[in-house]
C-alpha cells in the first residue's frame, strides 16, 4: 500500500520541482522563507492592534494614578494601586462575591442543565417543546431579563412572594436584603444560562452512539454505572467546554448587577466588572479600575489554566 502511494506521489513532486526551477526568480531562497510571514502579516497586525495592545496598555495604566476627566495628569505610582486594592475591605468583598457568584452560578447551572438534558434527550414531541421553552431565556437580552425578574422579585407586588404567601410561606426579601441579593442574582443568571447549556448537553448526548448503550444493557450495567462509566466520560469534552465558557461569562457578570442591585445593598452583590465600572466612571479612579481589570484577567487566566491542567488529562476526546 505505502509503496503504491509513493509511486503515485513521485511524478507529482517532480512536476512541482520542475516548475519552481523554471520560474525566473532572482532570490528564490529569500522569497520562500519570507512568504509565510508575508501571508500572516495582516492577521498579525490585527492581532497586535486589537489584542496585545489593549492588554499591554491596561497593564501600563494599572501602574499609573489617572482618571478619565484629566488624562494629562497621569502619574507613575508603581504597584501602589495594587497594594491599596488588596488592603481595601470593599475590594476584598467584591473579590469574594465574584468567586462565590461564579462558582455557584456555573456549578448550579451545569448540574441543572445536565439533569435536564438527560431527561429531555428523547424523541417525543413534548420534550422538544420543553427544550424550546427552557432555551427561550437565552435569546432574551439581559436588560429585559433583569426587568422581568425585578418585577417577579418585588417584595410587595412580585409574583414570587405572592406564590409564597399563597402556600402559606413568609415573603422573601430577594434583592433588598444584603443576605439575599447575591443569591437572587445567582438565581437569575442560572435561569438565563440553563437553556443554552442544556442545548449543548443534548447535542453532546446525541453524538454518543446508541449501540454502546445496547452493549451496556447486555453487560447488565446498572443505570448509575452507565451514567458514571459511559455517559459522563463520553460527555467530558462537552462539560469541559461548557465549564470554561460559563466560568468566563459568569465572572464577567455586569448587566444584571447594574440594573437590579447596583452592587447593593451595602456592596453585598458587587462584583469585579461592576466595581471596575464604578471606579472608572463614577469615582474617576482609573488606576484602581485598571488594576482591578488586571486582577480579573489573572483570576480568569489562572482558573482556566488550572482547569486545563487538571481536567484535560481526564477528558476523553474521540
Amino acid at each position: 500500500m505505502r509503496k503504491a502511494a509513493t509511486a503515485h506521489e513521485l511524478p507529482d513532486t517532480g512536476q512541482v520541482r520542475a516548475q519552481a526551477a523554471s520560474r525566473p526568480t532572482s532570490r528564490p531562497d529569500m522569497m520562500t522563507r519570507l512568504r509565510p510571514y508575508l501571508y500572516l502579516t495582516p492577521a498579525m497586525i490585527c492581532f497586535i492592534l486589537f489584542f496585545f495592545y489593549p492588554i499591554g496598555s491596561i497593564i501600563y495604566l494599572s501602574f499609573q494614578d489617572w482618571s478619565l476627566i484629566n488624562l494629562e495628569a497621569m502619574e507613575w505610582v508603581g504597584l501602589q494601586n495594587y497594594t491599596e486594592l488588596v488592603a481595601d475591605q470593599e475590594f476584598q468583598q467584591v473579590l469574594t462575591n465574584t468567586l462565590v457568584f461564579t462558582f455557584a452560578t456555573v456549578g448550579i447551572s451545569l448540574a441543572i442543565s445536565f439533569l435536564l438534558a438527560l431527561w429531555l434527550n428523547k424523541k417525543a414531541k413534548m420534550y422538544g417543546i420543553i427544550q424550546a421553552t427552557v432555551f427561550s431565556p437565552h435569546i432574551i437580552s439581559f436588560v429585559s431579563v433583569s426587568m422581568l425578574w425585578m418585577w417577579l422579585m418585588d417584595p410587595q407586588f412580585g409574583l414570587l412572594n405572592a406564590v409564597l404567601e399563597a402556600v402559606g410561606l413568609p415573603g422573601y426579601t430577594w434583592l433588598t436584603d444584603p443576605s439575599s441579593a447575591l443569591l437572587s442574582l445567582i438565581l437569575v443568571n442560572v435561569w438565563k444560562g440553563v437553556g443554552y447549556n442544556t442545548l449543548i448537553f443534548i447535542a453532546g448526548l446525541q453524538s454518543i452512539p446508541g449501540d454502546i448503550y445496547e452493549a451496556a444493557a447486555l453487560d447488565r450495567s446498572p443505570w448509575w454505572r452507565t451514567l458514571t462509566r459511559i455517559t459522563i466520560p463520553m460527555l467530558s469534552p462537552t462539560m469541559f467546554f461548557l465549564f470554561i465558557i460559563n466560568m468566563i461569562s459568569s465572572s464577567h457578570a455586569f448587566d444584571t448587577i447594574a440594573i437590579m442591585t447596583q452592587g447593593g445593598p451595602i456592596n453585598s452583590s458587587n462584583m469585579l466588572v461592576y466595581y471596575i465600572y464604578e471606579q472608572g466612571m463614577d469615582y474617576y479612579n482609573g488606576g484602581f479600575a485598571a488594576a482591578a481589570s488586571v486582577i480579573l484577567l489573572l483570576i480568569v487566566g489562572v482558573l482556566t489554566a488550572l482547569y486545563f491542567l487538571f481536567m484535560s488529562k481526564r477528558v476523553h476526546y474521540r
Partner: protein, 355 residues
C-alpha cells in the same frame, strides 16, 4: 448452553410489518446462520432475541424459559455488533471486564478471566490500549472477548466480519468456527453473505421480506431448495430458470454447474434423458479454475459453469444439456418446488454418474 425457540414472532415498526410471524427452533449448540437480502429483517430478529427490541407479537424461549419479559442483561446472551460497539472511554481490559464486574465477579476472579480470554484471542499485549488505538481486526477480537468472557448460553453476532478486509475475514471465519466447536454454545449469526453462511453454519435460515423461506443444513439448502427464492439466493451464480415444457403453470430450474455445453454439431446422446437447448455464447467470464458462459438459447438466457481447461472446445454455436435429475420443477405462482424432472438414482448411470 440452550436452545432458542421463536414462536410466531412478529415485529411492526410504525405500522410496517418487518418480521412476519417467524417460527424457528435453534438447537442447543448449533451454529445457526440467518441469511437473506438487505432489509429482510435479520438484524431485527436477532435484536429481539437479545432483548434490544421487543417483539410486537409471539414468544421467545431461551432454554425452557420464556424471555419476553426479561431485559437484555438477564437473558444470558452476548452480542457482537457489526461495528463492535466497544466502550470508547475504557481500555481493552475494562471493556472485557465490564460485564463481569456488573455480575458481581470479584476483582481477582475478573483479572484471571480477562487475562485468560485475552490470551485466547491474542490481545494480551493490548490490554492497556483504548479501542481507538487498535486496528479493525483487533477491535473485532475485543468485541469477541467481551462476549466470550461472560460465558453466555447464546452468542448473537450481527455481521461481525463485514468491516474486515477479505483476508482477515477468511481467517476470522475459520477462528469463529473453531471457537464454536471449543465452546459448544449456541451461535446465532447474521450475514447477507451466502459464502459466509454456507461455510460457517450447520443450520441455515434463509429469510426474505420478514418470512423464513427455508431452514436446512448447507448441503441440503443447495441440493434441495424448497422454493424459487432459495434456489436463486443460494449458489453463485444463481440457478437458471427456464419455462417448463408443456406446462404453463410451472418453471424449471437447473444449476449452472450441472449444465454441459456441446458444440452445435454434436447431437447429445440419449436426448430423452436430457433437457436440451440450442443457443449462442454471448459472453464468458473466467473466474480462475471455472469459467462462466452466458448463452442465449431458444428457451431463454442461461449461465453455464465449466472448467476453464475445457473452454477451447466451443465455437459460438452450442447446445446446452442438463441431465433431467438435475432439473428442478417449481410452481410458477407459489414458487414452491414440485420435484425434479426425473428421480436421481434412476438416470444417474446413464448421465455418467455425475452428481
Amino acid at each position: 448452553m440452550a436452545r432458542v425457540v421463536l414462536q410466531q414472532i412478529t415485529k411492526t415498526f410504525q405500522n410496517q410489518k418487518v418480521v412476519k410471524g417467524l417460527n424457528l427452533v435453534i438447537p442447543d449448540g448449533s451454529f445457526t446462520v440467518l441469511v437473506g437480502p438487505s432489509g429482510c429483517g435479520k438484524s431485527t430478529t436477532l435484536r429481539m432475541i437479545a432483548g434490544l427490541e421487543t417483539a410486537t407479537d409471539g414468544e421467545i424461549f431461551i432454554g425452557s424459559q420464556s424471555v419476553n419479559a426479561l431485559p437484555p442483561g438477564k437473558r444470558d446472551v452476548a452480542m457482537v455488533f457489526q461495528n463492535y460497539a466497544l466502550y470508547p472511554t475504557m481500555n481493552v481490559y475494562d471493556n472485557i471486564a465490564y460485564g463481569l464486574r456488573n455480575r458481581g465477579t470479584s476483582k481477582k476472579d475478573c483479572d484471571v478471566l480477562v487475562k485468560e480470554i485475552a490470551e485466547i484471542v491474542g490481545l494480551a499485549d493490548f490490554l492497556k490500549r483504548k479501542p481507538s488505538q487498535l486496528s479493525g481486526g483487533q477491535r473485532q477480537r475485543v468485541a469477541l472477548a467481551r462476549a466470550m468472557v461472560k460465558k453466555p448460553k447464546v452468542f448473537l453476532m450481527d455481521e461481525p466480519l463485514s468491516n474486515l478486509d477479505a483476508k482477515l475475514r477468511n481467517q476470522m471465519r475459520v477462528e469463529l468456527t473453531s471457537l464454536h466447536k471449543q465452546l459448544g454454545s449456541t451461535f446465532i449469526y447474521v450475514t447477507h453473505d451466502q459464502v459466509e453462511a454456507m461455510t460457517m453454519g450447520d443450520q441455515i435460515v434463509v429469510m426474505s421480506d420478514g418470512n423464513i423461506m427455508q431452514v436446512a443444513a448447507p448441503m441440503d439448502l443447495y441440493q434441495e431448495p424448497e422454493n424459487l427464492f432459495v434456489a436463486q439466493f443460494i449458489g453463485s451464480p444463481p440457478m437458471n430458470i427456464v419455462p417448463a415444457e408443456g406446462r404453463s403453470d410451472q418453471l424449471w430450474g437447473f444449476r449452472p454447474e450441472k449444465a454441459v455445453l456441446l458444440p452445435a454439431s454434436v447431437s447429445p446422446v440419449s436426448a430423452e434423458e436430457m433437457w436440451t437447448a440450442k443457443g449462442q455464447i454471448v459472453s464468458r467470464e473466467i473466474l480462475g479454475s471455472d469459467t462462466l458462459f452466458h448463452v442465449e438459447t431458444e428457451k431463454g438466457r442461461v449461465i453455464v459453469k465449466t472448467e476453464t481447461e475445457e473452454i477451447g472446445q466451443y465455437g459460438s454455436n452450442v447446445t446446452v444439456t442438463v441431465a433431467k435429475p438435475h432439473v428442478y420443477i417449481f410452481d410458477r405462482v407459489s414458487g414452491k418446488k414440485v420435484g425434479r424432472l426425473a428421480e436421481r438414482g434412476q438416470v444417474s448411470a446413464l448421465a455418467g454418474g455425475v452428481n
